[in-house]
Amino acid sequence: MNYVVDHADKLTKVKLKSELRRHKIKFPSGDVKKKVLVNLYREFLNPDVLSDQDLLGITIETEEKFQKELKKSVDSNNNNSNRLKAESNTMPTTHDVSQLSNRELAEQLRVHGIVTGPIVVSTRKIYEKKLIQCLTGHEVKSPHKPVNDDEDEEDVAPSPAYLERTEARRRAHVRGGTPERNIESTPLSDSYRRSPISRREPIRNTSTPVKSSFTKESNTSTTSAKTGGIPLWIKLASVAVLVVIAYLVVKNMESQEDNNVPRGIEAEV
């Protein structure tokens, strides 16, 4: 019941004057200080004097006034929490969402059950769009029209890295052993010159992979053709490269005149 009296100061001078006039309460004419009017209002317009209609009208008006003033203070002071209160009754627009700070945007998204990553310059737009989508239920259209890009993915040749990976995988799969031994067979050709012990090892290792690779490559080339994997010419090219490398290694080793040591190698394998 004290609501009206307590919120008398929320009313405008004009309103206060009109109320006082309506209830035939005298107040100073001319430029009157609001405080004076408020005091008069409080003094004379108590709940006993005012009818229910009056009370209702005044409470609605004060509430509206309160809302307006709240929005005004929000715009001028940029008070974020008040803005959210004031806007809770209205549908958020694109403009409103863009006014939110990064933290608030994240908070709003979290309320809707969306876990967000960091909201930075590059991600903000997407999260704003997401929030609008959640709130309005409509999808926001993107500025670009989808274009069929000239992808020409069919013409892309396999990269050396990809070839290396697939070769290693295939060898490991077929041999059932460690792929490192085969790959290391060629670099070992340099190292064995320095250390006399390791000379015995690579000789056997290089000879067998060459033979095995021939058979395995021929087997796998047919299988890949069936499954539609690497083109045949690529496979043949890789085989040729491997053969050349193996030949060079063997040739280097033969030039050392130190290849008649089968004992150590047989024990090794």
Partner: protein, 90 residues
């Protein structure tokens, strides 16, 4: 896998290093230019954006669509490519 293109296989076979954005599966010259105009000229910048969006499919595809106008197939190719790369190297 026959469902992924050779471009995809090439990209996920090794660390991306300084590869341009056009090396990404689903990104050709047209989209590459648009992305580069927005500052995403290298594949690693797009990776950065992918990671910022917490590797979420929907968000990344939405971003890609907004940034360069990629269609749904290209969006999917690019997302799958990056996801697989991350699974191997990240």
């Amino acid at each position: 896998m026959s469902s992924t293109s050779q471009k995809h296989k090439n990209f996920v076979a090794e660390p991306m290093g300084e590869k341009p954005v056009t090396e990404l599966s689903g990104i050709g010259e047209t989209y590459g230019k648009k992305l580069a105009a927005e500052g995403f000229d290298k594949a690693y910048t797009v990776l950065g954006q992918f990671l910022l969006l917490k590797k979420e499919e929907e968000m990344f595809k939405c971003w890609l669509k907004d940034t360069c106008g990629a269609n749904s197939k290209q969006q999917n190719d690019c997302y799958t490519c990056l996801k697989e790369w991350c699974d191997s190297f990240l």
